[in-house]
Assembly symmetry: C2
Homo-oligomer: 208 residues x 2
């Protein structure tokens, strides 16, 4: 049988060392670099850096919000499932409302997807929250509409929906939005639940 | 505000049409092509096709196993979380043993990762199962060791662990293994829970 590394801590150490050796992190502030390393770890692609964009205070605001006990609002259950609860600094609530029984009716009433309709159930929890969108462009678009309509502002929006219809456009809309929400995005089609969860896990603790 | 598509069915239709237009699916058997389309949909990358490898009967065996009620054995909770239960043809059990309280002690005894140790708890459920490894190379390596030691054979192994230490090697080991397990892999560093769940969802139903 093939020999392989069986020590979890050593696997992490070598993974992060490989990423730091191969990824072009030089242009990133140190605190963003630490988040980028975990996002790369989740997808196996060091060239992710070239599509990464962020507001200057994004990581600081996200970290401060989590330390202050802010909830993490996720578009899909996979994002919530990928967040390592032990890393969260204040036993923060991790919320995903997509499977709430009210969502299908809400989606019909609003004429939108269930992923977008699910945001109606976030309510006041949006105020100061860390939002993590890893799957649905419509959730990210809907968030911007809610902000335009006067909804409370989250502390940070991690915007990494994935795919071919609306993903790139929704991330561009977040980055360019006049509300100037603090954000961290991966431009283009790439993204996903694992990347969103990895970003939250990186913000939650500075321990690699 | 930006106009965007809000009809979930139309988003799916346009996404799959874009993938079929852009991805080089010509070299794939039709049934593999359908699985590839969903895996591409989950990661946003049409060039995934070049890293895809599979045994000739992989998709047929996976589909037949699910129809016959086989369980889906997942290495991490994120894979289980991404499987759309409504698509499963026989209310199949979706199993992830990683968070079982016995796993940390098992990992210490066996001198391996928790991801690998968790397979000890799959037991006889391995017989004829669909295995979906989306995260941990050590889980895939451990599966091959168990097979070598005489464990029951799964119907299909979806091997798409992601990352920088052991991921590429574990997928190569599965594809080359003398036991000739039916398999579907994405060679190299790319992979992930979303891709593994997408492959299961594609096998579960031929409805796009």
């Amino acid at each position: 049988m093939i020999e392989y590394e069986k020590d979890g801590a050593e696997i992490y150490r070598r993974s992060f060392a490989t990423i730091r050796a191969e990824a072009d992190l030089a242009g990133l502030p140190p605190e963003v670099s630490q988040v980028a390393v975990r996002m790369i770890h989740a997808c196996g692609m060091v060239d992710l850096v070239r599509d990464l964009a962020f507001s200057p205070q994004s990581v600081a605001r996200g970290r401060a919000a989590l330390r202050a006990g802010a909830p993490v609002l996720c578009d899909v259950a996979m994002v919530a499932s990928g967040i390592t609860r032990k890393r969260l600094p204040a036993a923060n609530e991790v919320v995903c409302t997509l499977s709430d029984p009210a969502v299908p009716d809400l989606a019909r009433e609003l004429g939108t997807t269930r992923s977008a309709a699910a945001l109606e159930l976030w309510g006041d929890r949006l105020d100061g929250a860390v939002v993590a969108v890893g799957n649905a462009p419509t959730a990210l678009f809907r968030l911007l509409e809610l902000i335009e309509a006067g909804a409370p502002r989250p502390a940070l929006v991690i915007g990494v929906p994935v795919g071919f219809v609306g993903a790139a456009e929704s991330k561009q809309a977040l980055a360019d939005h006049p509300s100037a929400l603090d954000h961290l995005v991966v431009h283009g089609r790439r993204g996903g639940s694992a990347m969103a969860a990895a970003a939250v896990n990186a913000l939650a603790s500075d321990q690699e």
